[in-house]
């Protein structure tokens, strides 16, 4: 088992309670304009992943890297990076372990939990 998962900050619409990964201009569910920040655990399951070996210009020089789709336990699907392991499978439990900064953007990096 790896260490405690980091938290993610989501944005919860005050009007309808919909969760958003980034603070939206308006809530796509109800057009509400006010949001509460909500810290949630960075735990979830691996929905899929791929290794990018031919990156776009902005990522050239980063080598190959793994992008994943994660289903957070809170009930929201997000994209991020994953520190891949050779034996990981779709459905594995994952935790948010750290973040990397690329061009001023904080990118979430998950790892598969070893049981």
């Amino acid at each position: 088992m790896i260490g405690q998962a980091l938290e993610l900050t989501l944005f919860c619409c005050q009007g309808c309670g919909a969760l958003h990964e980034q603070r939206p201009v308006v809530c796509a569910s109800c057009l509400g304009e006010t949001f509460d920040e909500k810290a949630v655990t960075g735990q979830g399951r691996l929905a899929s992943w791929t290794t990018i070996r031919k990156p776009p210009l902005a990522f050239r020089g980063h080598g190959q890297y793994d992008v994943a789709v994660i289903d957070l336990s809170i009930g929201l699907r997000v994209t991020g990076r994953i520190a891949s392991q050779s034996n990981q499978r779709v459905g594995d439990r994952v935790s948010l372990t750290h973040r990397i900064e690329i061009d001023g953007e904080q990118i979430n990096v998950f790892e598969v939990q070893q049981t």
Partner: protein, 387 residues
């Protein structure tokens, strides 16, 4: 709404055109279509131009008006460039169809064009990534091959999918490309050759990916009163549908389907008054091998979970249950992005006229499917041969 016919078609070869500009490619294809339609240029009431990345890759915009001028079209007609990522051509076609169907004009021309092969792979990848949600998906470094790498693993989890299963699609489309003189890279490939090529976005490999391509295709659409002018047998448009879908990967709750395609197909069958079983030939958006598997199931022409199996069993061959991508598709014919949706219709028209170099026997009903971005834009068209 009144019936609409395709009365003239034109196309360049798809491939490398290093010494020819995008304006020239588009003008050449358009001229062919106008001449074949027999319609005077003064009778064309609108031009729609499908293009995606002429700005970043060629530094050229306002191509609709420029090509209309090259063609000597009337100076007072609306000329509109249409962008919807890889579905740009399909959307441009639909706008031309709307203009004729609802009586804005009796004839309209649609042309799609792209010029890509002069750019490096990284430059093309970056330009194509303009079709991604670059506030959420883009910062992770995801690419479009990566999207279909994600889809492959999710599909494998749901239905089971091996390298050789997916290779059946590659083998079929590359082989079909050998029989299409317009195709960029037809090939006779073996399972071993496909499995040995470079990894691009695991598990997607090089032969799973369509090439960067230069090319243009054009069509003239007209109402009933002008179709007799055509030098060839016109084809009737039974349905032209456009839908939207989720622009972010994370909003696709099932990575094995594109909702925009499912909805567009359902609406198109309803509008055309036919069922999926009646479709004889399909040109669908196989930007990647995995995409054909998903698209064929989303369109309802292959049962869910059977896309690769049908290809392996020959059921989507030219003489199979339903012919899928007899042109070679994007994988072999090539993918000049803005031209692709128009080029698909060009191929189906030739099938319905029974004049295709890779002819489907007794083709009466044809379908095209053009998908943009992460499934954010989709068009489906259904066409019928006229006796």
């Amino acid at each position: 709404m009144r019936p609409v016919y395709i009365s003239g078609i034109g196309s360049t070869t798809f491939g490398r055109h290093r010494d020819e500009s995008i304006e020239s490619l588009a003008t050449r294809a358009s001229s062919q279509a106008i001449v074949e339609s027999g319609i005077e240029r003064e009778q064309l009431g609108a031009l729609y131009f499908g293009n995606f990345i002429s700005g970043p890759l060629n530094g050229k915009e306002v191509l609709a008006g420029i090509v209309a001028d090259r063609l000597g079209l009337p100076g007072n007609i609306p000329c509109t460039k249409v962008e919807g990522a890889c579905a740009s051509g399909g959307i441009a076609f639909r706008h031309a169809w709307l203009a004729v169907a609802y009586g804005m004009c009796d004839a309209a021309i649609v042309v799609g064009a792209e010029k890509m092969t002069h750019a490096s792979t990284a430059e093309v990848t970056s330009a194509l990534n303009c079709a991604m949600d670059n506030e959420l998906d883009g910062p992770t470094g995801l690419t479009f091959p990566g999207l279909f790498g994600l889809a492959w693993r999710a599909y494998d989890q749901s239905f089971g999918l091996t390298r050789d299963d997916v290779s059946a699609v590659v083998i079929k489309n590359k082989r079909n490309g050998l029989r299409n003189p317009l195709a960029q890279m037809g090939a006779d490939l073996s399972l071993a050759e496909i499995a040995a090529c470079a990894m691009i976005a695991d598990p997607l490999q090089l032969f799973d990916c369509c090439p960067a391509t230069d090319g243009a295709a054009a069509l003239v659409l007209c109402s009933e009163n002008l179709r007799h002018k055509s030098r060839k047998q016109p084809v009737k448009v039974l349905a032209s549908v456009q839908t939207s879908g989720a622009p972010q990967i994370a909003k696709h709750l099932d990575l094995c389907t594109f909702e925009a395609t499912v909805r567009a197909a359902q609406q198109a069958y309803l509008a055309a008054g036919i069922s999926a079983e009646q479709v004889d030939v399909v040109e669908l958006h196989d930007c990647f091998s995995m995409a054909e598997i998903i698209d064929s199931e989303d369109l309802g022409v292959v049962p869910r979970g059977q896309g690769a199996i049908w290809a392996a069993q020959g059921r989507t061959d030219v003489h199979g249950d339903v012919a899928i991508n007899p042109s070679g598709g994007l994988l072999a014919k090539g993918h000049p992005v803005g031209a692709t949706g128009v080029g698909q219709i060009y191929e189906v028209v030739r099938q319905l006229r029974a004049e295709h170099s890779n002819q489907v026997t007794n083709a009466r009903i044809g379908m095209t499917h053009n998908l943009g971005g992460t499934g954010v834009a989709c068009t489906v068209n259904i066409m019928q041969a006229i006796q």
